[in-house]
């Protein structure tokens, strides 16, 4: 028993010492580094500018204010265009969870050979492009105004001429695909990953 007590006594001290040693080693206070959050898009604004009158601007916004939080996406506006007019469509794509907000559109521009916008809409809502867009059939007509370094369409800027007839409660869907090493002149909405996929109500009157 004597030896046990001896051993116990000293090993306890050793244990405590080593415990302190280790804890002092491990007890740090490091905080995860801030990350440049590339995944999150909180605001997507579609900006239709009348090519004949740049004061005639139609905007529609989709917003998921808490990004990966539990709150649902809200489509805040319908797209209300005039009949028989030609518009240039551009985007404002933001992550506003960061302070200041981060312009994801800039990033897409930089990585334009990895991105493409696809569009779908109520059939014949537009006289140019006609049809229902290139989501169902990628080769269908869309008036892309920009190309990437490989000469393939991007879609940060597109041109739309509305039809002469009115439309109410139609649909305008826009999908941004991220296609690293996948994007070609024939890649479709089913290739790569979806950055966003939004459906707006389209009215033409």
């Amino acid at each position: 028993m004597k030896t046990i007590n001896f051993f116990k006594k000293y090993s306890l001290v050793a244990l405590l010492l080593s415990g302190c040693f280790f804890t002092s080693c491990d007890k740090d206070d490091d905080v995860p580094e801030p990350e440049n959050e590339l995944e999150v898009i909180t605001d997507v604004k579609l900006v239709f500018t009348n090519t004949a009158d740049d004061t005639d601007v139609v905007e529609a916004t989709a917003q998921d204010p808490d990004g990966p939080g539990v709150e649902d996406l809200v489509i805040k506006d319908a797209i209300n265009l005039g009949t028989g007019k030609t518009y240039a469509l551009s985007f404002e794509i933001m992550n506003n969870l960061e302070e200041p907000g981060e312009d994801i559109g800039e990033e897409i521009k930089e990585e334009n050979d990895e991105h493409q916008f696809f569009f779908g809409f109520s059939t014949d809502a537009f006289s140019d492009p006609s049809g229902n867009g290139n989501i169902d059939t990628a080769s269908d007509d869309i008036n892309y105004n920009d190309t990437d370094d490989n000469g393939n369409p991007v879609g940060l800027s597109t041109t739309w001429t509305t039809s002469a007839s009115t439309l109410s409660n139609g649909e305008f869907r826009v999908v941004l695909k991220h296609q690293p090493d996948v994007k070609t002149s024939t890649s479709t909405v089913n290739d790569g990953d979806t950055d966003f996929d939004l459906k707006f109500v389209l009215n033409i009157q």
Binding site: L15, F22, V31, E33, E35, G69
Partner: protein
Amino acid sequence: MNKILFLFLFFITSLGLIAQEKKECSYELKGVVLDAETREALPFVMVSIKGTKQFTLTNNEGEFQLDGLCEASNCLVITCTGYCNTTCDATCQLHHKEEKKHDSVIYLKPDVVALDAVTITEKDPNVEGTVTVAQSKIDNETLKLKPTQTLANAISEMAGVTFTAAGNNVQLPVIHGLYGNRVLVLNNGLKHGFQNWGSDHAPEIDIASANNITVIKGASGVRYGPEALGGAIIVEGSSLNFNQPLNAMIGTGYHTNGRGYFANTGISQGFRNFSYHIGGGYTRFGDRHAPDYSLTNTGKEEKAFNAGVKYKYNAFDFKLYYSFVDQNLALLRSSIAESGDSFVRAINSDRPLIIKPFSYDINEPNQETQHHLTKAEINWWYSDEERIVFRVGRQLNQRNEYDVRRNSYKPIIDLDLTTSDYQLEWYHKNWLQLNGIMGLQVFTQDNNNNPGTDTTPFIPNYNTLRFSGFVTERFTKDKNTFEVGVRMDYENNNVRGRDISQNVFRDDYSFLNLTTSLGLVRQLSENATFRTNFGTAWRTPNMEELFSFGQHGFKYTYGMLRYYMNENGDLKTDKVTPLSESGVRPEKGYKWINEWKIKQKTNDFTLTAYTHYIENYVYERPLGVLGTVRGPMPGFIFDQSNSLFIGADFTWQKKWSTALNGRLGLSYLWSKNVERDEPLINQPPIRTTYNLKWSIKPFWFLESAYLSLEPSYTFHQFQAPRTIDPQDLIDGEVEITPESEIFDFKAAPSGYFLLDVSFGFKVKQLTANISVENTLNATYRNYLNQMRYFADEMGRNFLFSLNYNFNAK
């Protein structure tokens, strides 16, 4: 049959050595032959006196007696007649005579004996400190048959044990309905320090390196600490026996499903006071396939290495152990939604949405982990059965997970977890008539996020510090053995994370908790034993349960401190609630487990019945479908409620003839969230198996062979929550709040019948095995596999394995 067991003939106890003063040849010698690892008695071992013709056999209790000896000091030769052809060396100089005293003891120690092909009569080699808790063990030779399977799969043969999975590569053990960090995995004496949150992280353990695996089915928190609430799995490496000739093993094999191949090797040798073991292995799998299609991106690659040394100096032995596992595990590609509405399409589709031709490539989503474990241990055998152990361990777990996303070449999760253990344990015998263990433990964990993931950390940085002390004591009176245990833990957690706006949040919380265990083993009759144990245990909710936020795998998940209800009853996730201000409480479990074992001539019955009440049981449940810019995504939250688990396992072993053995297993679990009066999700369904094994006599050139058939039936989980179609949630036809009754996105799969067939034989040092898993190529889905939302389980698989064992003389 290659049944090479290294039995460690640790000591031979002479219960009485009566040295009489009279003439010669009147000495008698009594002793017991025990397996030193399991302390099981070894029957039918021949014990003879060197230089004489005197010999005897041990009886069923391993006892022997030699009368009419002419010398007071004798040299024993132990031959394991009936079991092996090896003559075991007895070391003469260690056998010494104690003078006259009647109950004096003779120890032969430590002699190592290699016994061949031992069929051990099943005693109860229960783990010290948990002798009153029901447990089962798998030995090395069973593990060797399928060295590529996961730890969880290997032990799922046992009644009451199954596994939960995220595909073929990630499988976690489930004991009586509990898993994750309610089941502690003890890897060579240390709690396996890995990212054990979440059901998609499996312990990085190469079972080819394990000598045996024991599963403790009751709350064993007193012995092993807070996370052993649901049980413990004890994985032991090579036993590093002394006095053991050089042994080298090489094994290799091929799987048809996944075109998997593997090779492993191990070398061990023991000298008089030094021994070593070195082992390693490599495994590679490509895409597995279900009966009707390829399971794209389900391959894996694994490298493993382990080495240990043991050195004896007087009463001290020193052990060093190191193991390394490197894994790259693919997760089913079609589990990740590719476009907005594809989660709904994937769930409603009979086939995965992405099916590509077979490939060995591992693409996103996948997990890369490296686990290093080092351990140093000193045993001081201050008497022959009593020792003080000091154990130091350090583990480093590095985990990178990749997801299908922008910048998929960057890990979405990049964590380094460092775990340190300090354990001091005193194993005593007959101390105040008590046998038991007392211990002090210090445990620390340091988790760090590595920068560069381009996403907000899913799990924060944290430091855990725990001080523990425990006592577990056992005393035997007549036919009863009582075991009582108490443990005290103090745990502090310091947490630093970032929210979605990259603002820092912090939390710091501590718990002081008491764990107790009370048990009894009663020898009801010569053939019947009864065990009962009541154990409490507690557990701090883990980091994922508290702090997870956002996308992980195919879903969005919110930890308990990341969501709250505002005054309007709306669910919000815009702030992190400090634990002290939240309603989150540690989990506390109360488990009462009983086991009846009856052994008859040709029948063995084991019935285990348990009831387990868990206060503040933490579980993950579907919350709904969240609208995101990418489209609807399934959302889950963690929640806690008082829950009740009641179940039973039954096994019946029957020797139909000398060559034909049958084993029936049946597991049943009923569980309920009693606080909310609703079912629990992801609970194991009823399962029954029958194993029929025919040991074939030597024929042709085969020295021994066996054929086994194992049909099993897993029932439909009839206690599953109601089902709500995700489309109904998107359309707003069903409104779900955290107060709503629990639901699931897909109904529990129907029951299924599987048949496994296995044939093995042995020729000299070569063992070969051919198994067929899912022989009937049944199409089925496993309720406990997350991938059941997306794809069928693996189809038929032929598995060939070869093992060659070289033993130097």
